[in-house]
Symmetry: C2
């Protein structure tokens, strides 16, 4: 695995691959890699060509009171995991190179970024779209891979690709979970043993929504209430949001038709966890 | 000259050129082409490879009370002029294809877009950066050409290229003028004979700033006042702005060092004209 530590070197590599018609798969990450990230890398390798993984803890997507400085960093461990997963290139850069003092142009998402995490984390998705647009220009991928765990992020980025005409395909792969249902997340590192034991209740609450949907419930308010009640019974979480929305537009219809998404964010102590499950036909639409 | 009337066809062409290592020069326009536009096309041809010209009157960069619907359109004349100038491809699309109903992601410029035309035309530069980002993705140019007449636009776009990491070179070519000094502009079509006769006073006012600079004046307020006085003496224009600023940052220092830009916008009747001149060493820095 080749390590690339500057934007100029990454661009030069990508130009060379493009000139040789080498297919480029790309997995952008913030490091602290887990089996979810690695499933994206392995898929990129299966799809052929070269697999580029970036590790960049992006200050622009963290709010002033969020966990940018203490976000888990394990570069040596990440590099070993990527080597084993078959990544061809590990690309890193610094905040100073990514955002020099003169930096001032942003990619700003629209309606899709307003509810859910967008409401709780002002500016978060603007940080995500801006950095991913930059990374796409540096790496020039034919295909880029994201996890369904960050469902709203994936939807916002697909919309960015469509709206701005990036010439690439975005793939969203299923959330990887622990045996007890907890979605893998770099932020799981923050959990105490007691919190870790309580954490699967978030997924349990979303499963309760799915069960209600599968029993025929279609009213979004009642579906969400079923999930919130289940989460409240666990007693461990402080809820940020648990909502049931249209899986394509993230609009909030009174009733779902053939599918939708149940998405939640909740705090265990200081740690904010997110998760989501797709309802009905939404999983088929994910592509 | 090949005419391309869909985004998909433009992308396919650009992919083919890139695969064959053909160099791509690109001149984005809103049509109503004049000798200024054609100088960009001829430069692109001189630089080698293929020259693509787009014509798209971009609704996103017009305010609600501006001249989008009456903006001059002369497609047949434009096509003939481009053929003669040696353009290889004329790319057009529709507002509906460029901005489908779901469209919601914008490229938003920063400080550079705030003063001057940015202050007079809220949202204008956001419309420019968004459409040009899209066009860059469709055409995949190695080099793109803009006129100095829209100096702030060129600076905002260069910043976008730098900030978001577009893999291309942006070139800014000198303003082309009528013999009496009036900068060529598609909006000159709007002028009555009386207005046309008065129009060169805008350039004259900017020249007065340059003369004051060349005599040693460095205070931006006094430089701008010299220009405003000259324009007021002409009696014909209603001033929007005439300012003297740093040519790189568009900041407003009290005094210039070795150069700067004098930029103005003013109305002749209902027609808003803009122009600028570079002071001192600024012309060398334009590149």
């Amino acid at each position: 695995m080749r390590r690339v530590e500057s934007i100029a070197e990454m661009r030069e590599l990508a130009r060379g691959w493009r000139a040789q018609k080498t297919w480029i798969g790309f997995v952008p990450t913030m490091g602290a890699l887990h089996a979810g990230h690695l499933s994206l890398v392995r898929q990129a390798k299966r799809d052929g060509g070269v697999a580029v993984v970036s590790i960049f803890v992006n200050p622009l997507q963290f709010g002033p009171n969020e966990d940018f400085t203490r976000y888990p960093r394990d570069f040596a461990g990440d590099a070993a995991r990527l080597e084993e997963a078959g990544a061809d290139v590990l690309f890193t850069t610094t905040p100073e190179e990514m955002y020099p003092k003169s930096f001032q142009t942003h990619v700003v998402p629209g309606l899709l970024a307003e509810p859910l995490c967008g409401a709780s984390r002002p500016g978060h998705f603007r940080g995500v779209t801006t950095v991913v647009a930059k990374l796409f220009h540096f790496v020039a991928p034919h295909q880029a891979y994201f996890g369904q765990k960050d469902f709203q992020q994936a939807r916002v980025l697909q919309q960015m690709v469509d709206d701005l005409g990036f010439d690439l395909v975005l793939r969203i792969l299923p959330t990887v979970r622990e045996a007890d249902g907890l979605a893998l997340s770099s932020r799981n590192h923050y959990l105490t043993a007691v919190e870790r034991a309580a954490a699967p209740a978030l997924h349990g609450a979303l499963q309760a929504v799915r069960e209600a949907f599968d029993r025929g419930e279609r009213a979004t308010a009642r579906l969400a209430a079923a999930g919130r009640e289940r989460l409240a019974r666990s007693g461990a979480f402080r809820l940020d949001y648990l909502e049931v929305r249209d899986d394509a537009t993230l609009a909030l219809p009174e009733r779902l038709a053939d599918g939708g998404v149940a998405a939640a964010a909740a705090f265990l102590g200081k740690t904010r966890l997110i998760d989501n499950v797709l309802l009905g036909d939404a999983a088929r639409r994910l592509g």
